[in-house]
Amino acid sequence: MSTTVTDPIFRATGVGCRFGGVIALDSVDFEIGRNEIVGLIGPNGSGKTTLLNVLSGIYKSTSGELEVDGRPSRFMSSRRLSRDYGLARTFQNIRLCSSLTVRENVLIGMHSRFKWYDSILPFGPGSREKKAAANVEEILEFVGIGDKADEIATDLAYGDQRRVEIARALATSPRLLLLDEPAAGMNPREARVLVDLIHRIHAERDMAVVVIEHNMNVVMNTASRVMVLDAGLCIAHGDPKTVSADPHVLEAYLGKRFRDA
């Protein structure tokens, strides 16, 4: 079952996460290579988002080992993982700053580029603020919302808010991008554009991408490798075709009756 990755950027060994008596993640082994797109699927409540939260340091795992670049990362803060190890993520329930414009939201992702004295000397020629602003324009063009930079982020259409989140994650110049249900609430056309965007992020910006998604079209058209979670355990792992035909996966999604259908 296990597909081994040579020289992984991220490795999880037997990772578990429980909240009191609830076992959200039982024991998951997981590797992400330096330049691949991994799909993460599973029924509701199977632990996908928990796994993402554990990877990005927002939750602490209660058992197992985590490694980023070969260093143990189980107790690293999400700030450190973002700043020093190039880990960026988006959120399932969109989390944008409602009082800020699209541009300012994306600038939040560039926080770690600034030095303390930029807070009193933000302007002037060659200032970091200007460079960052130019960079924001480029990223917004890249995700396709270049014309909406000065609008209040939460006033945008749902699909565009998702793109602002992706833009903000890209602004941290990550090496590993975690996308939590990027296609949620998108119509089929928007979802196709998203698939393109994920491919372009992967190809042009040279980073590993993990996609959690319920929309099978998105997963099957982007991921080179898919992992299926159910009840906190990895039940299948491999290329998209094999996984979608796996009897365990069919059972998890559709029930026992459909196992052999």
């Binding site: 990005s56 700043r83 993520r89 700053c97 009082s99 926080h111 600034f114 930029d118 949620a184």
Partner: protein
């Protein structure tokens, strides 16, 4: 209200206001100048709190202690040493900033309602200290007879000169706060106010940023303290009670959270009405209380939003309960216990 006025005209109007401010001593009688100076002192005081409360969303009820620390440090230095005024200002601002950092360290682990209680407590401790450490602070009678300052050869004895000096300091403090608000520090504070999880996930050091903004806000309040000493020539504990802290919160909320002109507009309304509507006496607090609730409910950008002056980055809480919930959420302890910080919700999906 004024948002239909084109931007260049607004800029010219603002410039005209500043010029008028500088010409004011030639136009009105000393009493009005004194009121104007008081308004400016409170503008600086509230500018400090605006960074903490307006940008950072950290509810502090102890800001009068910072104001007082600046005033007492300045008073002691001016009475005991022959220091030049510039040096006194530097010492007071830095001293108050250190005091603010110490209070701010409590925000490392607590937030929301608890932080409000801790700052309230710090303010009360400071007030009791002022009343009881008679050798240092003069006790309840305070420190009278502080000599008027001389700023690089400019004698501030006359009220006109004191006013002009305070006006200059107000402009400097406002410009400083504007720069902070425009910079990455202002943005990270707004991000922390809106959602600490995203702030952390994008590389922002949340606890450190909170402590730093407490230090900066306290430093600015310390400057206001020095200006108060210059204006009154006297310090006493009565100027630094919890009432004054609440007054500052009122000014920030009514003027407009996270705006540049908010503290000034709020001061005009709150302090100006104290001076000119004395007949209203205690009804004043009632009116401002109601006004504060109305602003939080419908116009979170305060007077700046109502008048349509400049951008509004106030929290878009559509109801008071949402704002309170937001403040309370920011009190959730950070990551180590964050199992409940983000509810694990899965959207139902066909």
């Amino acid at each position: 209200m004024l948002s239909f006025v084109p931007k260049p005209i607004m800029r010219i109007a603002l410039l005209a206001l500043v010029v008028l401010g500088f010409l004011l001593p030639n136009l009105v009688e000393p009493y009005t100048i004194r009121v104007a100076a008081t308004i400016l002192v409170f503008t600086v005081f509230a500018t400090g709190l605006n960074l903490i409360l307006g940008f950072g969303g950290l509810l502090s009820f102890g800001h009068a202690a910072m104001f007082g620390a600046g005033a007492y440090i300045a008073a002691r230095l001016m009475l005991d040493t022959g220091m030049s005024l510039a040096l006194v200002i530097v010492c007071s601002v830095l001293g108050t900033a250190v005091f603010g950092l110490l209070v701010g360290i409590t925000s490392w682990r607590v937030g929301g309602d608890y932080l409000a209680l801790i700052t309230l407590g710090a303010g009360q401790i400071f007030y009791l200290y002022l009343n009881n450490a008679k050798e240092v602070t003069g006790g309840a009678t305070g420190l009278p007879g502080i000599p008027p300052g001389v700023f690089f050869g400019w004698d501030l004895t006359a009220i006109e000169n004191t006013y002009l000096f305070i006006l200059g300091a107000t402009i400097v403090a406002t410009a400083f706060a504007w720069l902070i608000g425009k910079s990455f520090l202002g943005r990270s504070l707004l991000a922390i106010r809106e959602d600490e999880v995203i702030a952390r996930a994008h590389g922002i050091n949340v606890p450190l940023t909170k402590v730093i903004v407490f230090g900066i806000g306290a430093g600015i309040a310390g400057l206001a303290g020095v200006l108060q000493v210059l204006l009154l020539g006297f310090v006493g504990p009565a100027s630094f009670t919890v009432d004054q802290s609440i007054l500052a919160v009122e000014i920030v909320l009514i003027g407009g959270m996270a705006t540049t002109l908010g503290p000034f507009l709020g001061s005009i309304l709150v302090i100006g009405s104290t001076e000119y509507l004395r007949s209203l006496a205690d009804y004043r607090s009632m009116i401002f209380g109601a006004l504060m609730v109305l602003i939080l409910l419908w116009k979170p950008g305060g007077l700046v939003q109502i008048l349509g002056l400049g951008e509004t980055r106030a929290s878009k809480a559509t109801s008071l309960s949402a704002l309170l919930a937001k403040l309370r959420r920011s009190g959730t302890p950070p990551s180590r216990h964050s199992a409940h910080a983000e509810p694990v919700t899965e959207e139902a999906r066909p």
